[in-house]
Amino acid sequence: MARTVIPFGPQHPVLPEPIHLKLVVEDEIVKEAVPALGYVHRGLEMLVAKRDYHQMIQVCERVCGICSMIHAVCYSQTIEEMMGIEVPKRAQVLRVIWSELHRMHSHLLWLGLFADAFGFEALFMQIWKIRERILDINEATAGNRVIVSVNVIGGVRADLNPEQRDWIESELKIIEKELKEIQSTVLNDYTVKARTVGKGILTYEQAWELGAAGPTLRGSGVKSDMRMLKYGGYKLLDFEPVVETAGDSWARAAVRFREVLQSIDLVRQAIAKIPRGDRDLAAKVKGNPEGEAFMRVEQPRGECVYYIKASGKKNLDRMRIRTPTFANVPPLLAMVPNCELADVPVIVLSIDPCISCTER
């Protein structure tokens, strides 16, 4: 039987980013899938040689424009650990707020794209409509919609005033209401389930062994969320990770949808925890970092790892970033074979691929 060879990408309307999959299909069943990367590779890790460690924050933010905030947090924490800087509590809490806002907008963005991948345009529109409110919050509080650039080594450089806090609370209420409205569509709609349930199954063992991360890992029943490490402001908050056990695309979607609701809760908790008196936003930074550090944080797509080595110079010796998608690509390669061609976008998107951070 003759096989069709489909060049899926680098440019493809359902792939938001350039990645190429050579798909060999037979009767529209995928028999072989080989990826080609490198369409987004810029060479960021090398920029440490050309930027000082303060400037690198902005570069790290642009590893990924979606969870930029969390990259910056992770980078800052790594440097802070090396230099032994105590970040003011207010800054820690504020970092959580913006991080969780990023997680929400990232998850909603993804849910929309996911809906689009199985051809549910109206749902996409509905979700992205909700998401705009979060971007408005970012823009009003941090000065930009997606890449907020509020982190500096030692803290943050923007604050929330009481009116803004109230406004965020009221916006969150609206967001929560609108999310509840689409909840049954996302989780229970017959057509949605028909396209997601049982598609791209990753068992608990597979997920663990292939080194999956984030919702992809939690969708397979592994209780693993770096926020359980209680880094930064998270040590002040109640947190219990969201886990689903089915291991299919539906489970991953469900994890993310429930995490959005959880993030709303975390933001509320964090707002309540903003210290009253202490107005300190950033600690003073002196000198240059030295030594080695390894830091893990939870990004919307999962565990992000920074490894930094410095030797007391303005420029770092080495910065290594392992982003969650990098970890989720091998599981993806295990999920795609023997699925239907029509399910390829669904399965590929179900790991919430972020190629720009994968390739940096």
Binding site: I6, H12, P13, A117, F118, G119, Q126, T191, A194, R195
Partner: protein
């Protein structure tokens, strides 16, 4: 004279109406998605623009196929307005459908090839159902001729409710609406990009678009035959049907063709058979 006018309607007015309908469709779709949407005449602008663009196609077969698709669709539509035989109209439109597929297969493009295969599955799904709907109409009206069907005293819908539901399935497939928009889609975000239409460009894409308008009008015409006794109710029926299509389009995910083949065949055949038996018994 009457026939000249009818032919004119079928040949010239119908596509314009189809184009406007496409615009209204997009506008309402936008509203359902809480968007403002394009102007009503947008579909006409699009096609006019396409006619002014550079034509790209992989080979001349594609161009021929695009033309045949258009001509067959136009002819089928004209025949409809001339009140010809339903089966004849069906076969003439099938010419268009087949050539669309063949055109997509004519080039070495994986996307249009896969699109063509899926389009064939769609043809495979709706054709028998459409024939059965026509047979139902035949049994109810005693003839395949539209003029005879028009002469029936009471609305066909009363006798053929299930057949009408089957027809809405067909309509969903033919209008390329979700959940059955997998061979090509009005929305670009689809795993096949544009499926059968991927390799058509510029004026040739415009031809297929106009042909699609003809087909839309034709199918709505068939729907209209279910309530011919009263203009008002006919209009209500058509509007309700079309609006229903839009709502379906906007409340469902795209399904796969395997699913469609199983369920639409199963349900469609079952309903047609029930309706047929009912007619035999009645």
């Amino acid at each position: 004279m009457k026939y000249v006018i009818l032919a004119f309607i079928g040949l010239v007015v119908a596509p314009l109406a189809g184009g406007l309908l496409a615009g209204i469709d997009r506008r309402i779709t936008a509203r359902l998605q809480s968007r403002q949407g394009p102007p009503i005449r947008q579909a006409l602008y699009d096609v006019l623009k396409l006619f002014g663009k550079e034509g790209l196609a992989l080979n001349k077969w594609q161009i021929i196929c695009a033309w045949v698709y258009l001509i067959a669709a136009a002819l089928a539509c004209t025949l409809f307005f001339l009140q010809s035989d339903l089966l004849l109209i069906f076969f003439v439109q099938a010419v268009g459908a087949v050539f669309l597929v063949m055109g997509a297969m004519a080039g070495r493009s994986p996307y249009s090839q896969v699109g063509a295969q899926r389009e064939l599955i769609q043809v495979l799904t709706y054709e028998p159902l459409l024939v059965l709907v026509f047979v139902c109409m035949y049994l109810a009206a005693g003839s395949f001729n539209i003029s005879d069907i028009l002469a029936v005293e009471s609305p066909l819908l009363a006798q053929l409710p299930l057949a009408y539901i089957v027809l809405t399935y067909i309509l969903t497939i033919k209008l390329r609406k979700s959940p059955f928009d997998f061979s090509t889609s009005h929305h670009g975000h689809q795993e096949l990009v544009k499926g059968v239409l991927t390799e058509y460009s510029g004026p040739y894409l415009a031809l297929t678009e106009v042909a699609h308008w003809y087909e839309t009008v034709l199918l709505l015409g068939v729907c209209a035959l279910f309530w011919t006794t009263n203009w008002l109710w006919m209009a209500v029926l058509l509007m309700a049907t079309y609006f229903l299509e839009l709502v379906i389009d906007n409340t469902m995910a795209r399904m796969t063709w395997r699913w469609m083949l199983k369920y639409v065949w199963g349900i469609g055949l079952a309903m047609s058979v029930v309706n047929l038996i009912w007619l035999y018994a009645g």
